[in-house]
């Protein structure tokens, strides 16, 4: 598994769940998710559940923060660091 796979999985999930009908190209690796309200606190929990189920990792409460989940790149970095 590489960062791109992670980004693709999460991007698909976000587009389906929260951004139906949006142009997939508009959601880039650096689009802010939490600070723009695309992911609110409840949505963050869903993304965390997805990451844990899909990639077999465990995320702790203090890790569910903007630094780790604000962009697709941040998310990929978090998952990769957990997998390492």
């Amino acid at each position: 598994m590489n960062p791109q796979d992670i980004k693709t999985t999460v991007k698909t999930f976000i587009l389906n769940e929260y951004l139906p009908g949006e142009d997939p190209a508009a959601l880039t690796d650096t689009t802010p998710l939490m600070t723009t309200g695309i992911l609110n606190s409840i949505a963050v929990l869903k993304v965390v559940t997805l990451l844990e189920n899909q990639f077999g990792i465990t995320i702790k409460p203090h890790e569910a923060v903007v630094e780790n989940l604000n962009t697709l790149s941040d998310i990929a970095r978090l998952v990769m660091s957990k997998k390492a």
Binding site: L27, G37, T49, V65
Partner: protein
């Protein structure tokens, strides 16, 4: 050649000079380019400081702190980067020492000039140093080289010890005020600090810790935003200083505007449930109660803006919460720091721990646990600021209702999904329309819920609803217009939450920064706030009273009457008062004589004064004579050659809070006896029959039952704009106690009671509210009765209008002054009564607070009584004894 040389040399020199000039110009431009924004920032900061000073926002200490921050800001900015944080930490400690110990310039001057001993000076340092000592001790415990669990246990033990000391703050009377700020600085921030320390999510150092806990503005605001330690550290100069400072100034300006709006709402909204007379009043009351929160959002903006001036690029604390489109949205926008705090410490840990029971269930339990923690922590906050915990059903039910509303919305959002867009321009008009309607609906529901929280009891809230039971078409139309305005605002700005919904703003999510437009806007707005009042009062002189009322931190009529407010209001009353050393709550023993000084009666007078009693009222000794009056001794039979007047009034006429010989009635009597305005009389007596809280009905009845026995020549009925409130409370007490009205009064009282649909079994607040519309009718009847009774006995009836210190010339701005001066005096004149208007008595007093006994007691001071006496004497003598020339003749004729 010569010519060539002569011509070429100057060209070369000119060229060189031109290059030099160009370089110099560029250097100047660069220097100016760096200096200009800084000067513009200094000017804006100075203007905001002037606004705080001019409008006396919050307290005098805030003004002093702003000066300290202003000077500190300039030094801080000029320091090299590595010295800035330690400097801020030292400045914050300095603010703690000077503010908590009331160590102002006067104290320093007194010590330096030898007017104060060194021991006295050190005494002022003691509370601040104690606070710092305890604080450093707590921070030290967090960093003990022991296991983290043991450190938490040690902090808990220390916290428990401090809690006991706070609950018994009287054990250390020299540092009483310190506890409020110790609590404010550590009660929540210590939890955040320990959390971040455990997870090592931010750097730690002594300067950071001191700066974080002793945050500079904290000494002015016991109710302080829960700043997140990690955010505090990560945002420190995380971008160029120009946008950080300018954003801070913008927020400070927004803060002062909100504080001024709060003042307008606080002074002029119909907040007194007892006085509501229509459905529109109820809507205004609910809206007003909700908007009182502007004080918190205003102070939070001011606080965070001030922190920006020292490089802390913290996120917004509130974001258009009045336009929230759902309850979860409301929760995310109002007090964002609190939401982040409880999410971090309660919601996420609970949810993550319960994930195995399913995401929806885990979220439900975590949400309820978060709100339970919020309720508990609000009580904890109350304890540290007020000294006693807040555990009541109203508070609990408010948080429970809000928890359910947020949970239901959260479940709906989770199961149905909430559609977002990547670009705001994609939002259709239909979506905007729905958003507007949602914003309007949430706004209305929050108004109702907030007023439930603010009302003192369930009965009061029921009364509020009762008052709204018969809306007129006009009421409905006005409410709908307001609703439509909120909807339109929601349509226009409701979506902007996208920028800050998680309480963090980044450069990526903000629009491009433009310094000069922002600086010009803040400067222009500040100048308007400074010059506006003068311009308005110059163009419309009648607004003078209105503007005066907005100046300074004066309690509104309701709070003066009842000494109560909503959660944040009451929290502030205690906290700010304690801190300022002028506790807003009545000190113990202030009115200890109330019970001893008055006794119940079984007739419609309800109360009278105990004869020959000496006690304390309004913090001052108070004596009654053998006839049961707050007055000197008099013979019951009028002596020969004596002009006798009886005075009928309430507590201010009785002289609550001033010494026996300082009441205006005694001062006028002394004046009459020393000047002898009429030769026919060698002695003048004013018998004071005033009883605290007597309604106009009681005053007239007291004249009939007691006053006429003293054979008065004249009877003075004293009135003020706020006295009309006593009518409803008088009838309410009579109804609840089952006391029949006196003969002669029965018909009018029973008629009013019947029409108002009240009986003695109803809640007191509801009885008073329903009787409120009949105040005017009963006042009118009382004036007629007063005139008739005096005419029958040959007594000269007079009415005096006595201004209250907070009355501002009978300004009819608030509903508490329904029958304001002009209306009341109009009624008296219609009844054929002679009127003396004492309103101008206080005109010369610019600082109205010098006329209040204390912040918690609006009775008139000795100065006020003297001014009233001067004015009354000036108007009374010509009325009773003729023109001044006649008086002069009389005096000359005196043997």
């Amino acid at each position: 050649m010569l010519i060539k040389t002569l011509t070429s040399q100057p060209v070369g020199e000119t060229k060189a000079r031109g290059v030099e000039a160009s370089v110099a110009r560029r250097a100047l431009r660069q220097r100016f380019g760096a200096l200009a924004p800084f000067f513009a920032i200094v000017v804006q900061f100075g203007l905001i400081l002037a606004i705080v000073d001019y409008w006396q926002l919050e307290s005098q200490l805030l003004s002093r702190l702003m000066w300290l921050a202003f000077v500190g800001f300039v030094i801080h900015h000029l320091l090299p980067q590595r010295f800035r944080l330690p400097f801020f930490a030292i400045l914050s400690l300095l603010a703690v020492i000077t503010s908590v110990g009331h160590l102002g310039p006067n104290v320093l001057r007194a010590w330096l000039t030898g007017k104060m001993t060194t021991n006295g000076f050190l005494y002022h340092l003691f509370p601040g140093l104690t606070l710092i000592g305890i604080g450093l001790g707590l921070i030290g415990i967090c960093h003990l080289p022991i296991r983290f669990g043991a450190r938490i246990a040690a902090v808990a033990v220390a916290g428990a010890g401090l809690t006991v000391l706070r609950a018994n703050s009287r054990w250390f009377p020299d540092v009483t005020e310190m506890w409020v700020f110790l609590g404010s600085m550590f009660m929540f921030r210590l939890m955040v600090y320990l959390y971040d320390l455990k997870h090592r999510t931010a750097p730690f150092s002594p300067a950071r810790a001191i700066s974080y806990f002793f945050l500079l503005p904290n000494v002015c605001f016991p109710v302080f935003p829960v700043v997140d330690y990690k955010t505090f550290c990560s945002t420190y100069y995380n971008e160029d200083w120009v946008p950080i400072y300018q954003n801070g100034l913008r927020w400070m300006f927004r803060g002062v505007v909100q504080l001024l709006l709060y003042r307008i709402v606080y002074q002029f909204a119909p907040l007194d449930v007892y006085k509501l007379s229509s459905a529109l009043d109820v809507a205004g009351c609910m809206l007003g109660m909700y908007l009182l929160y502007l004080r918190i959002s205003g102070t939070f903006h001011l606080i965070v803006g001030l922190l920006h001036m020292f490089g802390f690029n913290l996120p917004e604390t509130h974001h258009l919460y009045l336009l929230a489109s759902s309850f979860t949205d409301f929760w995310r926008r109002i007090n964002i720091y609190w939401k982040d705090f409880v999410m971090k410490l309660f919601f996420y840990p609970t949810h993550f721990a319960l994930r195995r029971i399913g995401p929806l269930r885990a979220m439900s339990v975590a949400t309820l646990a978060t709100f339970f923690a919020t309720w508990l922590l609000h009580s904890w906050q109350w304890f540290w600021i007020r000294g006693t915990p807040l555990f009541n059903w109203k508070d609990f039910s408010f948080w429970a209702i809000l928890a359910v509303l947020v949970l239901v919305t959260a479940i709906y959002e989770t199961t149905r999904g909430q559609k977002r867009t990547l670009s705001p321009s994609r939002v259709t008009l239909r979506q905007r329309f729905i958003l507007g309607l949602e914003a309007g609906a949430v706004f209305c529901l929050m108004c109702i819920l907030w007023s439930y929280w603010t009302c003192q009891s369930w009965a009061e809230f029921r009364t509020l609803m009762d008052a709204a039971s018969k809306p007129t078409l006009r009421d409905i139309a006005i409410v709908l217009v307001v609703f439509a305005i909120v909807c339109v605002c929601g349509m226009l700005w409701g979506r902007s939450s996208r920028e800050t919904s998680e309480g963090r703003s980044t450069t990526a999510t903000r629009g491009p920064f433009q310094f000069w437009p922002s600086a010009v806007a803040v400067t222009a707005g500040s100048i308007c706030l400074l010059a506006g009042p003068s311009v308005v009062t110059w163009t419309i002189p009648t607004t003078k009273g209105l503007i005066a009322r907005l100046h300074g931190d004066v309690l509104n009529a309701r709070d003066m009457d009842q000494q109560r407010r909503g959660y944040y209001e009451e929290l502030d009353v205690g906290g700010m008062g304690n801190w300022r050393g002028q506790a807003v709550e009545e000190p113990e023993g202030w009115s200890k004589g109330k019970k001893a000084f008055f006794r119940d009666r079984s007739d419609f007078l309800l109360r009278d004064m105990v004869p020959s009693m000496s006690t304390v009222l309004g913090g001052t000794s108070c004596t009654s004579n053998s006839l049961g009056m707050r007055d000197r001794e008099y013979d019951k039979l009028k002596p020969a050659s004596t002009y006798r007047i009886v005075l009928l009034g309430a507590s201010n006429d009785m002289g609550t809070g001033v010494k026996d010989d300082q009441t205006y009635e005694n001062l006028v009597e002394d004046n009459l006896n020393s000047r002898v305005p009429d030769a026919r009389y060698s002695r003048y007596e004013i018998l004071n029959l005033s009883i605290a809280a007597d309604s106009i009905l009681q005053r007239v009845l007291r004249l009939e039952l007691e006053g006429f026995e003293f054979q008065p020549d004249a009877a003075i009925l004293s009135l003020s704009a706020v006295d009309e409130q006593f009518i409803a409370s008088h009838l309410r007490k009579a109804l609840i106690q089952g006391i029949e009205p006196s003969p002669g009064y029965r018909e009018v009282v029973e008629s009013v009671v019947r029409r108002a649909h009240v009986n003695g079994k109803m809640p007191a607040v509801m009885i008073e509210r329903r009787l409120q519309p009949y105040d005017r009718e009963l006042s009118e009847w009382s004036f007629r009765r007063f005139a008739e009774q005096c005419a029958q006995r040959g007594v000269r009836p007079l009415v005096i209008y006595r201004p209250a210190p907070a009355d501002f010339s009978g300004l009819k701005g608030a509903r508490s002054e329904t029958l304001a001066r002009s209306e009341m005096l109009g009624l008296a004149r219609t009844a054929g009564l002679e009127v003396i208007d004492l309103s101008p008595a206080f005109d010369s007093v610019a600082d109205r607070s010098s006329l209040f006994l204390a912040k918690w007691d609006d009775h008139t001071t000795a100065l006020g009584h003297r001014l009233l006496a001067d004015k009354l004497y000036e108007d009374l003598v010509p009325l009773l004894f003729g023109s001044p020339s006649k008086q002069q003749t009389s005096r000359l004729q005196k043997p």
